[in-house]
């Protein structure tokens, strides 16, 4: 009786054993390659941050506040960076914002957007993005048409996209400086 039951269960036992062994192999190989992958991702993130902070040599990331702290060669703190996003004309615009200190923007990089490309290119080709360099957080809003008292000139015909970028930067900055103070 017992031999019969084992005989019937044998195919199931075998395939379970094969699956367990295969899964163990995969877990081992994943943990080995993960080390290499993470090292490379860290390097890519550093290169991205260096787009805003050329002197950056090293960074740390706080998991809770999601803020990057940048350091230069002498291990001196040179700024902070974080992501922000807001709706543009037809897509979500994601921006990497760099802060010199808790009041001034060091620079921004748009990392993802799906706006109408002909209008977005107009925005990229203009000096729109450069306006954020050295801008005070409190001035980070469009100057027209809303009259919010901002100092960022939008790109004509790309107002929604311009506003999306400015809002993304301002909102993220206002949120994050709470943590930095």
């Amino acid at each position: 009786m017992k031999a019969d039951r084992i005989k019937k269960l044998y195919p199931l036992l075998l395939i379970t054993l094969v699956i367990v062994i295969a899964a163990s192999l995969l877990v081992i190989s994943e943990s080995i390659t993960r080390v290499v992958l993470e090292a490379r991702q860290d390097q890519e993130t550093l290169e991205l941050l260096q787009g805003i902070f050329p002197e950056a040599n090293f960074y740390t990331f706080d998991e809770d506040t999601e803020i990057y702290t940048l350091y230069n060669n002498g291990r001196k703190e040179i700024g902070y960076a974080f992501y922000g996003s807001d709706r543009g004309y037809i897509s979500n615009i994601v921006v990497l914002v760099g802060l010199e200190d808790t009041e001034t923007i060091k620079g921004i990089i748009v990392t993802s957007q799906n706006e109408t490309q002909s209008y977005w290119k107009r925005l990229e080709d203009s000096n729109f993005l450069e306006q954020f360099i050295g801008l005070k957080i409190e001035d980070c809003a469009l100057s027209h048409p809303s009259g919010l008292g901002g100092k960022v000139d939008g790109v004509s015909s790309a107002t929604y996209s311009s506003r999306g970028v400015a809002n993304a930067v301002r909102e993220a900055a206002l949120e994050k400086i709470e943590y930095l103070n």
């Binding site: 199931l12 395939i15 094969v18 295969a22 995969l26 190989s29 390659t33 290499v36």
Partner: protein, 204 residues
């Protein structure tokens, strides 16, 4: 060792997976846009063939017929996943270029076919010979197809960022169609016809 050499040679010529068995045509068409991609994929396929043929042949007497296909697939999928992870970690540019065709190796008929038709019924040594033969036959076929496509379609060959050579005439006016899917079908079809017509690879 004549048994070994015989099985090995079969994979290269008389049972060449692309030009005789006509298995694995999908990756042959899709990944042969450049020699580098073709070599990368062939390396992965050969590794999967070797690893899965060896393991399946080792345990062939313990696999009941009722679960053999699921067992083969789990074993093949494990090795394909390992190959994919290794590529992603150590050659990320090649991994991105191959895209979906790397994980898709699980579904290539050639791998499951050799497991079912050969590895589950033959000794380990012969299964290894078969896997090597089929793998290298696949590699040679893909190298041939991709060299033609890349030379005609871009005017030269470049590997890992280094231009190996550029033909003077074609370099300025490459025939773009060979890089497109149309060109893939043209090249593979014509090569198949050529090998059949000259009887170079006789079908068994």
């Amino acid at each position: 060792m004549s048994g070994f050499t015989k099985e090995f040679a079969k994979g290269l010529m008389t049972s060449n997976p692309i030009f005789v068995l006509a298995l694995g045509l999908c990756p042959a068409l899709a990944t042969t846009t450049s020699l580098e991609n073709a070599l990368g994929l062939s390396a992965a396929v050969t590794f999967v063939l070797l690893a899965s043929n060896t393991i399946i042949s080792l345990i062939r007497n313990f696999i009941p017929s009722t679960v053999r296909i699921p067992v083969f697939i789990v074993i093949i999928a494990a090795f394909v996943t390992i190959a994919n992870m290794v590529f992603q970690a150590y050659v990320p540019a090649l991994h991105d270029a191959l895209g979906i065709y790397l994980p898709l190796i699980v579904a290539y008929c050639i791998v499951l076919g050799r497991a079912e038709a050969f590895a589950s019924r033959n000794t380990v040594t012969r299964s290894i010979a078969d896997a090597l033969g089929i793998g290298i036959g696949f590699t040679l076929a893909l190298v041939l197809i991709s060299s033609i496509r890349e030379i005609l379609g871009t005017g030269g060959i470049s590997i890992f960022g280094n231009d190996l050579f550029t033909l003077p005439g074609l370099g300025d006016n490459p025939v773009y169609i060979f890089i497109l899917p149309t060109g893939a079908f043209l090249v593979v079809g014509l090569l198949l016809a050529l090998f059949r017509w000259t009887g170079v690879m006789k079908n068994e």
